[in-house]
Amino acid sequence: MTAELTIPTQTSSKDDVVVHHRTWKDYFTFSSDHKVIGIQYFVTGFIFYIIGGLLAEAIRTELATPDADLVDPSTYNSMFTMHGTIMIFLWIVPAGTGAFANYLLPLMIGARDMAFPKLNAVAFWIIPPTGLMLMASFFLGPAQSGWTSYPPLSLLTGKVGEGIWIMSLLLLGTSSILGGINFFTTILKMRIPSMSMMQMPLFCWAMLATSLLMIISTPVLAGALILLSFDLIAGTAFFNPAGGGEPVVYQHMFWFYSHPAVYIMVLPFFGVISEVIPVHCRKPIFGYGAIAYSSMVISFLGLIVWAHHMFTSGTPPWLRMFFMITTMVIAVPTGIKIFGWLATMWGGKITLNSPMLFAMGFISTFVIGGITGVMLAAVPFDIHVHDTYFVVAHLHYVLFGGSVFGIYTGIYHWFPKVTGRHINDTWGKIHFALTYIGFNVTFLPMHVLGLQGMPRRIAMYAPEFQGLNQIITYASYVLAISTVPFLVNAIYCAYKGEPAGNNPWNALTLDWQTTSPPEIENFEVLPVLTTGPYDYGEEEEEEKELTAV
């Protein structure tokens, strides 16, 4: 990218000229620059998001009528399997952890790069070939058992696709673990000396919690997938009741990863929201310590709630009680964050620009997803709505209403940092309005359908559900179209947007104290901290108090 910058550099000798910018070719190399890798993650993720989104639109088109008229039921099965797998493992996890954490962590803590730059590049370059491999399975008899891939169903349908699916997840899991090691080490070891843990921006706390989950829970999924692949390929019977195996063991191992995966997908955006709200409300964050520690508490509790996905799998009552209580307790640290953000906004000088609108959209939709989560934690209610559209509504309120809104919040907020240019705010607001309306009209009625008993993961449904399903399908088209203004706006403004300067939001965190886009090693001189990350409000003039050594 070629944004103009007016950093005075000595140009007496050609060799001394500092190269500030990357050319487009750099983004196709095995670059170890965390900012290049962050953008590689995001663009790759977004391409997969579009593919996953098109699959979602095909699913919704199929569901416009009660019969299986667009595709046959087995194709439908593989479509929702692919949709879930792509959206989780190739979009939200890479975009949240890979893109945002890679780009922002070193900038926020005043480091020149991640702790292990080459490992970082390896972690990224695992993803594109794996994604292509997973896509290819679509033409080789794809997996049909959903992104959860429960045996024995997963052992019976689409063997080749299932094998590829397992292989892909093992590779993506490896990438995620390597990323987690990098984030964890970077946050703990690479901060500038003047920054204590309690002076880190809250995004770093969120990523610390996330990286712990990546390191601790992802390997257990690998264990489950290794056993599943033996069942599939070598004919063992770990999870196959026909040979004396126990499918519930797979479910335990799978959810030991996949519930924390929900937090891997949303904690980074709790961090993003904690960064965005104080800046655009010009107020110090309310309850820094509470928000920081609540990330760690969510991370810990997230590891001991997994069996709430298995209330109908023959889990004994005492165990269900335990998991019901731990799941409900998670609402406490989450609530602490929500109230922290609301209290930050209270009485603040709120600027209603695109990042702030998306942040407020995030809070409103995520709260709905959180509340339905507490409802689903209650055993009797869960048994009633298990495997219905209520669950589909809940998970999309968390993963779209949470994670995707969080991604857009972050994109609008850090766009000037990454490109050095403003993204058009009017089109950003149009994007927000379309997304917010499209999202809510798509997923809100699914709660009703679920309560009425419409089962998920089936191409056909009873005719009385058709009315709401048609509304949902049309709304989902609005949601798909809402991506177009964003894409056009982002690509256009990356090259032709109004120059933004280094710190258009007058933000205090270190990521804003360098040039935009940041030069290759982030800082000309490593900064020294003279202000907290959120000391807004009292004297706006003091904002550039960071002095160079």
């Binding site: 000595q10 056993l227 030991f256």
Partner: protein, 204 residues
């Protein structure tokens, strides 16, 4: 901030396309390795707990008709692997005194012990009276020991590559022996996993 930039032309940012890093920071590779081994440990922990779950749900364990496991050979193997941890530590002590010959001797010995262990395990596999698919116990036995054996193989390869590198003069020294330390830590890890595995599969 802007003003201070003009007087710092001394920084030599390498301008190759891959953006090398000109400022060295302290070495976090050992820390990173330990975090990685925590993740590795979680795979094994997951598999161990799965094993215990299968065991607790089975009416009889090992299932009726499973031939008894011989203890003699794996016992000797255990002794070999455990003592190799002491041997590899001698290499660490040696290189800290800049004794490359000592490093090569002890690493060579450790690699040999690792290979003997793997050979012993293959011998055991070929003489067992049950196969991978015989029953749930047999499957878990092979997958757990096989997955551990894979780690021993990786460990042996790590040790051999350190040996190979130590042939280059001055490659390892008192100050510069990350490879030696990393291979040693990994080897201890593989050892600890084996002890747990041995207790779970053979003794319990």
């Amino acid at each position: 901030m802007q003003g201070s930039i003009s007087d710092k032309t001394q920084i030599n940012i390498e301008t190759d396309t891959h953006g090398s890093h000109h400022e060295a920071h302290p070495d976090f590779r050992i820390f990173g390795l330990i975090v990685f081994l925590v993740a590795e440990g979680m795979i094994f922990l997951g598999l161990f707990i799965a094993y215990l779950a299968f065991r607790s749900m089975a009416p009889e364990w090992p299932p009726a008709g499973t031939p008894k496991l011989e203890l003699m050979l794996p016992g000797i193997n255990t002794v070999i692997l455990l003592s190799s941890s002491l041997v590899i530590h001698q290499a660490d002590t040696a290189i800290k005194k800049n004794d490359v010959k000592g490093l090569q001797l002890w690493f060579g010995l450790t690699a040999l012990m690792g290979i003997i262990f793997l050979g012993g395990q293959l011998y055991e596999y070929s003489h067992l009276e049950f196969g991978l698919r015989t029953n749930l116990f047999a499957s878990t036995f092979y997958v757990l020991t096989g997955f551990h054996g894979l780690h021993v193989t990786v460990g042996v390869l790590l040790i051999l590559s350190v040996l190979w590198r130590s042939m280059k003069p001055e490659h390892y020294g008192t100050q510069n022996h990350f490879g030696v330390e990393a291979a040693e830590i990994y080897w201890h890890f593989v050892d600890v996993i084996w002890v747990l595995l041995f207790i779970l599969l053979y003794l319990l």
